[in-house]
Symmetry: C2
Subunit: 362 residues, 2 copies
Amino acid sequence: MSQLFSYRYLFQFSKEVFLKIGCTEDDAFLATTVLLSADLRGIDSHGIARLGGYVRLWEAQRVNAKPDVKIIHQTPSTATVDGGSGLGLVVAPKAMQIAIDKAKAVGTGWVSVQNSNHFGIAGYHAMMALEHDMIGICMTNASPLVAPTFSVERLLGTNPICVAVPAGSQPAFVADLATTTAANGKLEILQRKNSEAPSGWIQDKEGKPSIDPHELKVGGALLPLGGDREHGSHKGYALGAVVDIFSAILSGANYGPWVPPFPAYVPMPTNMPGKGIGHFFGAMRIDAFRPAEEFKHHMDNWIERFRSAKTVEGFEKVIIPGDPEREMEAERKLGGIPLVGAVVDDLRKLAEKFEIEFRVNS
Amino acid sequence: MSQLFSYRYLFQFSKEVFLKIGCTEDDAFLATTVLLSADLRGIDSHGIARLGGYVRLWEAQRVNAKPDVKIIHQTPSTATVDGGSGLGLVVAPKAMQIAIDKAKAVGTGWVSVQNSNHFGIAGYHAMMALEHDMIGICMTNASPLVAPTFSVERLLGTNPICVAVPAGSQPAFVADLATTTAANGKLEILQRKNSEAPSGWIQDKEGKPSIDPHELKVGGALLPLGGDREHGSHKGYALGAVVDIFSAILSGANYGPWVPPFPAYVPMPTNMPGKGIGHFFGAMRIDAFRPAEEFKHHMDNWIERFRSAKTVEGFEKVIIPGDPEREMEAERKLGGIPLVGAVVDDLRKLAEKFEIEFRVNS
């Protein structure tokens, strides 16, 4: 049902599309690198499957292909950035770079971004910190699909948090998680298969528990991590709220139910209180706390102890956050990236629109 | 079954006990203020119920009543603090004050603490930032009671995270949450009542789901927020891990299964890789990102929108994080603090030990 493409081919194709909508050579390269990092890491919902969606946002004049990304307020350890309505794929790594530069100067750097768009996977941006021996932090708000505990209304996005921590001989620890029970991408997979969703993932339009993965199309909602009050959904809701506040109320972006929807055909909310969507980035220099080598020695010890813990029968090992994505990346970089039929069709349409050659199974 | 005490009386009693173990007048006042903030806010498991536990740690020479709390490493926006084996109730607010002072100077302040002990509720420390128009962040690691996803072993504590955000005419947003499905205090309540625990809270010593609240005494474990893999327990585990890393691997405290147990009678782990338990504090000046009045106007708007959302039938309103604790505090400050029999007995024993007068129903 899916077809295999090489990373190199998808890179060339995606970059060509970004050039066609008017990105500079550098920005097209950057946007493609960020976009495809999702496909490589197995987060298919956030990768090239969204390329057509970005183009439609550009057509709707909600994305500026040549944005003026600029600092509008700052202190030695902080900055507020206006993304100039650019692709989040371009705005986010530039903002994360500012956080890293500030951390170099004063130990840590924290950047809140307004007037941006969807930025791909949080993991890419947080992981930029690793090569500098820094801890990287990244979050973003998103279109409202999630109902807080006791709410029928959808007031929050899946609002992910990523924390990337360098280690020594062990690979880095990379926790990248939506603050919902399940990410929207997992629901989309169930929709395609017409399978039932587990309990605790979604509710219907009256707020009753549901296992129908199509519920979101008829007024239902995703649920915060925890699922219901008894299982801690108020905690998932609180975490999603913190992401919203750091990303948008600090920066001057839209928040809560006013976050612009990703699909270009969905009308924009009325009375929007800010500009675009918001992100938040952090970088902490390890040696602002203790020598980096000492820290990495203990991170290795932590990782080795957890990975070798006694497991529940039937499970091979305790997984360190970041393990599955790293293994997937190694596999797909060499072996290729599988795309489902609907995504291949979408790419074919993009090829026609922009008069780019498109080769299936490349 | 419980008896009512005035805040003023419990304050005087607790302060007297801290003086008896050798705290200075200032530290006894501070430790009591922090300890009783838990009782006021309705987090009974972390309040005066633990006073005897702190005394037993002092008797076991694991708590130094006159600690030398000092910065051992710093940059303009960070500090690493050695808590000198002091009461966490004293070390934590001092470390948070350092974070606040750094935020005044360079926009944000971040402090990782080693060589400390249990610090009461995270909420107290994070909320110190509010009066300075700062966002406060606080986390701590804790005795290993939690099994990561697929693990039989208990490798993490309930590792709470608190984020306190100032608002304008609305009360502050205060999210204070253990990274487990349910905090240990809730399990203790079920133990006292001999009631069953909901599914997803605990597992038995083989890692099978259990509803027996006494499971932890025979090798069972608390579960990370999410409960099981299908409901996102790998996310709760990742969040608990981040708390452990920020609190202990950055600072040089003990981490994972090596965190010292709270009960003084439990033997210390062998081969401990650090000193004491670890905490992490953050303070971000609002006006390091945008004018504080603007921010607070939008926080009010956020809070009002969420609180007035349409609710699921049977629920009155969507709760803003911090609402229940603030309402409890107003009630108990005037109406008194109820203590269960076991806690009253423990206080009576402390009174005898230190020859302090103890009056029931004061």
